[in-house]
């Protein structure tokens, strides 16, 4: 009933494609959170030049399509200086971090500003400096508010890893595309058959199985907060 090629293709997609997808997503998530939380917290300091620089960073990387950002990193930076050459996987991860950190920075700013000023004053009274105050008093409270948008961000990052396909990273979508081409090749290499419908539907299904529980989780966390 189930054709023989499905086993090989599925294994290839899960072992090569999905692993790379998750690898990029993990790096992009960690990078986005670290950079984004830092920039978002710094954005609450009333020092105009610093705020202007971070604001520009947010508006540029949030405004550009991620595909264009990844193209700029992968194609334009090496044209400026040869030391700025990255392999496709790193380039895609950097592009996603630039976009993701801009999202996180904006959310962090809101979360930090939602903490009442009494908390700042109480922490100062206990002898905390700016860094200690934010690291030990403000951030732990702001993180609660930040959790739902961070889960949504993870979903978006996982879905946007597919854009790495365009510069040739063998993530889930590209592994599906390669399987389609292989099956389409004449025997003995392939089967000379077209299976783009089933394989692309499978790619969608795998993404759905990952994203759906996470979007439910984000909605649940959001609801519990209010």
């Amino acid at each position: 009933m189930i054709p023989a090629w499905t086993n090989d293709v599925l294994r290839y997609m899960l072992e090569q494609g999905l692993v790379n997808t998750l690898k990029i997503a993990a790096v992009a998530l960690v990078g986005s959170v670290v950079v984004g939380v830092t920039f978002g917290t710094l954005l609450t300091i009333k020092f105009l030049p610093l705020r202007a620089v971070i604001r520009a960073y947010i508006e540029v990387w949030r405004g550009l399509p991620i595909l264009v950002t990844i193209f700029i990193i992968y194609f334009a930076l090496p044209a400026v200086s040869l030391s700025l050459r990255f392999d496709a996987l790193t380039g895609a991860a950097i592009g996603l971090i630039l976009w993701g950190s801009a999202q996180v920075a904006e959310a962090t700013r809101g979360a930090v500003q939602s903490i009442p000023r009494e908390q700042h004053e109480a922490a100062s009274a206990l002898g905390f400096g700016w860094v200690g105050r934010h690291a030990f008093v403000i951030m732990p409270q702001a993180l609660r508010r930040l959790l739902p948008p961070l889960v949504s961000l993870l979903v978006n990052i996982i879905q946007n890893t597919t854009i790495a396909q365009v510069i040739g990273v063998n993530e889930l979508l590209e592994s599906g595309e390669r399987s389609i081409e292989r099956l389409n090749a004449p025997p003995p290499i392939g089967l000379g058959e077209i299976h783009s419908f089933e394989i692309l539907a499978t790619v969608m299904l795998i993404f759905f199985c990952i994203s759906f529980p996470l979007t439910r989780l984000a909605a649940y966390l959001e609801k519990r907060l209010t």
Binding site: E59, V60, G63, L64, P65, I66, L67, V68, F71, I72, F75, A76, A79, V80, V155, Q159, N160, T161, T162, I163, Q165, V166, L173, E177, I180, I194, H195, S196, F197, L200, A201, V203, M204, F207, F208, S211, F212, T215
Partner: protein
């Protein structure tokens, strides 16, 4: 310092000459990006309005079908959806050309997100407003058109414009089906002329100008269409 300034000026004039030399292609590409976006935004508005109302009022069958549509679109990458429409469907004898896929893919994507925007907007309308409408003798449809839509539509407006901004940005993904919109065209010119930095400067600035204009519009509308205190 002088050298740095000189470098900047040559870069600016190089970028400008890039625009001048390729002006016709760039203008046609920009027009295609804007045209595809406009069709998709109009479609997403109608889809969001109709399905959002069905979801908010729990109209049987339509509401469930809308929920499935929204979850499928929101939980799969739009790039895979584009691939599926353009490379997957021909296997079952549905052939769509690049232009059709270009507006259809972003329209379906925007429609799903807009359904959620409008549903949230309509559900945020206080019950007492609807009850007041019924007390005035409005039938359900008239009540929706005269009470829920004007109030809920305003609540949904900022988030729906955010969705339209994403729609415009997502048209860049039509690069993968070689539809000659802005991104595809600029990359083709870049491949021919190797004016890499100039090409990407023009590409990035074009998108930023469009996106920033649209977000300025949100801020303008937000203050202009803010609901009076009595409606909250």
């Amino acid at each position: 310092m002088t050298a740095l300034l000189a470098l900047d000026f040559t870069f600016l004039s190089d970028t400008w000459s890039f625009v001048e030399t390729n002006f016709d292609e760039l203008l046609a590409a920009l027009r295609r990006t804007l045209q595809v976006s406009a069709i998709a935004i109009a479609g997403a508005f109608v889809i969001g309005l109709v399905l959002g109302a069905a979801r908010a009022h729990r109209i049987p069958v339509v509401s469930q079908v809308a929920a499935v549509y929204v979850e499928i679109i929101r939980n799969t990458p739009i790039l895979v959806q584009i691939f599926f429409l353009y490379y997957g469907l021909p296997q079952i004898d549905i052939f769509l050309d690049a232009y059709t896929v270009a507006w259809l893919a972003v329209m379906l994507w925007g429609g799903a997100f807009n359904t959620e925007n409008f549903r949230a907007g309509f559900e945020a309308v206080p019950d007492r407003l609807r009850e007041a409408g019924f007390a005035l003798g409005f039938r359900p449809v008239a009540n929706f058109l005269n009470v829920t839509l004007p109030v809920g539509g305003r609540i949904a407006l900022p988030s729906s414009i955010n969705t339209y901004i994403s729609v415009v940005k997502n048209t860049s993904l039509m690069y993968v089906i070689s539809y000659p919109e802005l991104t595809t065209t600029v990359l083709q010119i870049q491949a021919l002329t190797l004016e890499t930095v100039e090409a990407f400067t023009v590409l990035a600035l074009s998108y930023l100008i469009i996106v920033w204009t649209m977000s300025a519009l949100i801020r303008l509308l937000e203050s202009h269409l803010a609901l009076p205190e009595a409606f909250k």
